[in-house]
């Protein structure tokens, strides 16, 4: 698939603080790429640097279909994290204004706007003033504004924040559909579960640096090791003494055994001690959510998972 956007060794400092360092990734046509990270990790700074709203100190941003040095603003749709709309104007007026700014034909824009309003359950609201809309409706209008001109590249900064679950689903479906139709999508989020369901690839950023970069499957395979959760009362030393167990966490009568990366589950199961009390046993992978929380809270689960984290 053809690459639409390449970000190369991006860096930015405010005063003496480095906000982001050495950020490199690319976004391809028709794929959904996620930038993940806790609050203050540098997601918005990265996105603003791509949009030319901030100027990075180092590194480069390249839009592949466009030869000129200028950012091809007309081909990009952007939903910023800090977003709002003019209060005392009509929904249709503002959508057409944004379309006009992107040089998109107004007649087509009007038609698309009506279609999307209908799709998002806002049918008949086109002549309503923005201030009469609820916050969720406002977000939907903003989303429509960012895609009204059929962008090649869609950049969404925290698109799901502040949405109820139903609206989240609507947005998710729409984003998937756009990707299927060939739009390259870059989104940022701190909701791991949504990213896991939606994205093809992810870039995990913490304190301005890359932690993980790859497809969801790769990331899962590589970083999300197996863990074995057993219900029953156990001796901690006994569990720690088993092969290929890296770490044990005990909580009442639930023990969680974090297993080494190259563990072979059937073999490992066979060597469970005969006297082990098992009321329930579950083998699954460490979820992306756990990886994310551990990174955000500074626990070094990653290191035990075989990654040399340089987040410190």
């Amino acid at each position: 698939m053809e690459t639409v956007l390449t970000v190369d060794r991006l860096g930015k400092s405010f005063k003496d603080t480095r906000i982001i360092r050495d950020i490199s990734f690319h976004v391809k046509k028709g794929e959904i790429m996620a930038i993940l990270g806790p609050n203050g990790a540098g997601k918005t700074t990265t996105i603003r640097s791509i949009m030319g709203i901030m100027y990075p100190d180092e590194g480069s941003v390249e839009f592949h279909n466009h030869t000129s040095k200028e950012i091809p603003r007309h081909k990009i749709g952007y939903l910023p994290e800090e977003r709002g709309l003019y209060k005392n104007v009509k929904v249709m007026d503002i959508l057409l204004y944004f379309a006009e700014l992107k040089d998109y034909p107004l007649k087509k824009a009007k038609q698309r706007a009506l279609e999307y309003l209908k799709k998002f359950g806002l049918e008949g609201k086109d002549q309503v003033s923005i201030e009469e809309l609820s916050k969720g409706m406002g977000q939907k209008v903003q989303f429509i504004a960012s895609i009204i001109h059929e962008p090649e590249l869609l950049i969404l900064d925290e698109p799901f924040s502040g949405l109820d679950p139903v609206s989240q689903e609507v947005f998710k479906d729409e984003i998937k559909e756009l990707a299927q139709n060939g739009t390259a999508i870059l989104l940022s989020s701190h909701q791991m579960n949504l990213v896991e369901q939606l994205c093809d690839r992810l870039f995990l950023i913490h304190r301005g640096q890359k932690i993980i970069y790859g497809t969801i499957d790769e990331v899962k395979k590589e970083y999300a090791n197996f863990k074995c959760t057993i219900l029953g009362s156990h001796n901690r030393e006994e569990l720690e003494g088993m092969t290929q167990v890296q770490r044990v966490e005990q909580n009442d009568n639930v023990s969680t055994l974090y297993l080494a990366q190259n563990v072979h589950i059937p073999t490992w199961l066979k060597q469970l001690p005969d006297n082990l009390e098992i009321q329930e046993l579950r083998i699954d992978r460490v979820s992306l959510h756990e990886i994310f929380v551990d990174i955000a809270t500074g626990k070094n689960l990653m290191e035990e998972g075989g990654i040399s984290s340089d987040a410190e």
Binding site: M51, I53, R73, H74, I76, G77, Y78, L79, P80, E82, R83, G84, L85, Y86, K87, N88, V89, D93, Y97, F98, E100, L101, K102, Q142, A145, S146
Partner: protein, 413 residues
């Protein structure tokens, strides 16, 4: 430029659809008309009612002579009576009358040197001054009675006045010997300047809306979405153009409503005075003034999220357009003086001071004007650059207002 125009169009349309703007657009000139008319109406009433009926008994023949010399408006409420009335008779009559006065000119008056003006109760004491026109003729009559010829008496009665003469005023009086003509010339100068002044004032008021607009953009967090389509400079320029158009619309509304009224009400050939080549220069100065202040307002607006939390610093900048008011007094008294010149060359005050001076001065100081305009143009360029820098950073700073220190840092970036 194309993008700026889109923004300008949007800002224009957005405001023209705004009810409160439309209302103020028409309400301001209407209010002006109302307040302009009130005193006129009031004046008219007073002229009709207040002219007291003055009955004069003229034994001396002073009035009949004076009457021929005075314009009719001044004498129409005077009425000569043939029969002498005693004080008691007059007072008795006045008990039942309103708005009436009696003056008895008898030989006694010349001797005593005082004239009794008998007035009905409702008359103001100031009505006595109406009788002042009789002072000179009576004095002359008195002198004539003492043996002077009537010419001598006239001269002696006219008294002596003191008039200040400086080298400047001497040359001025020479230049304009005829009083009426000089007043006409003054009007000829003032009308186009006043027009330019109205333009400047009106677009400045609209310019203050730029402040609000930029601040709103920041508060409502639309800026970042808009900036994904154009550059901050384009957004800023678009706003400046858009509000300029709004200002001009306002001036047009003023003109359409007020000019016909003035033409009807006031007896001055406005259009003739207005449509002179100088008008272009004056309008140019007004527009330059707008651009200067618009760049200041748009950049401060970008640093302020909430009008109420505006710090003293921003508030002070807001007062800048009114700075020329400080200079008005000294300029009025000496339009070519040192203060007037300083005001002309200080970019913030240039438009206002220059307009006032050009209205006052008969001979335009072209060299000063050219220097001032050059300074103004350079200042606009510098202010726009600075405004661009402040706007760019300020508009995307959320949650707090910028301090002067921060703004200084952005400027140096």
């Amino acid at each position: 430029m194309r993008n700026s125009m889109k923004v300008a169009k949007w800002e224009y349309k957005r405001n023209m659809k705004n009810k409160s703007f439309i209302i103020s657009l028409f309400l301001t000139p209407l209010l002006f008309l109302v307040f302009f008319n009130l005193p006129l109406l009031f004046d008219n009433d007073e002229a009709e009612e207040a002219g007291p009926q003055i009955h004069i008994y003229d034994e001396l023949g002073v009035w009949s002579e004076l009457k021929n010399q005075l314009p009719e408006e001044q004498t129409e409420n005077w009425q000569e009576i043939d029969a002498f009335k005693s004080e008691e008779e007059i007072i008795q009559e006045l008990e039942n009358e309103e708005n009436t006065a009696y003056i008895m000119l008898t030989e006694d008056v010349l001797k005593s040197g005082s004239v009794h003006v008998y007035m009905s109760k409702d008359l103001n004491e100031n009505a006595v001054f109406q009788a002042n026109i009789l002072e000179h003729p009576l004095l002359a009559q008195k002198l004539a009675d003492m043996g002077l010829t009537s010419e001598q008496a006239q001269i002696a009665a006219s008294g002596i006045t003191f008039e200040p003469v400086t080298p400047e005023s001497a040359s001025q009086t020479q230049a304009s010997e005829n009083e009426g003509q000089s007043q006409e010339e003054l009007l000829e100068r003032v009308v186009p300047v006043a027009f330019a002044g109205v333009i400047l004032f009106s677009i400045l008021i609209t310019g203050m809306m730029i402040f609000q607009s930029a601040s709103q953009e920041k508060k409502e967090k639309v800026a970042e979405i808009v900036l994904s389509s154009l550059t901050p400079e384009e957004l800023m320029q678009g706003k400046i153009y858009g509000y300029f158009a709004l200002g001009i619309t306002q001036v047009a509304a003023w003109m359409v409503l007020i000019l016909p009224f003035l033409a009807w009400r006031v007896d001055i050939p406005f259009l003739e005075y207005l449509l002179v080549p100088e008008l272009f220069l004056l309008i140019f100065i007004a527009i330059a003034g707008y651009l200067l202040f618009a760049s200041i307002f748009v950049s401060i607006g970008a640093t302020v999220e909430d009008m109420n939390s505006t710090s003293n610093f921003q508030g002070m900048l807001f007062m800048l357009p009114f700075l020329p008011a400080i200079f008005i007094g000294p300029i009025m008294s000496d339009p070519s003086g040192i203060i007037a010149q300083v005001g002309t060359y200080f970019p913030i005050t240039t438009p206002g001071v220059l307009l006032v001076r050009l209205a006052m001065l008969e001979e335009w100081p072209w060299i000063e004007i050219i220097i001032a305009i050059a300074i103004l143009i350079v200042s606009i360029w510098v202010f726009m650059k600075l405004a661009g820098k402040i706007f760019k950073t300020g508009i995307l700073m959320y949650g707090k207002d910028a301090t002067p220190k921060e703004i200084w840092k952005w400027i140096r970036q």
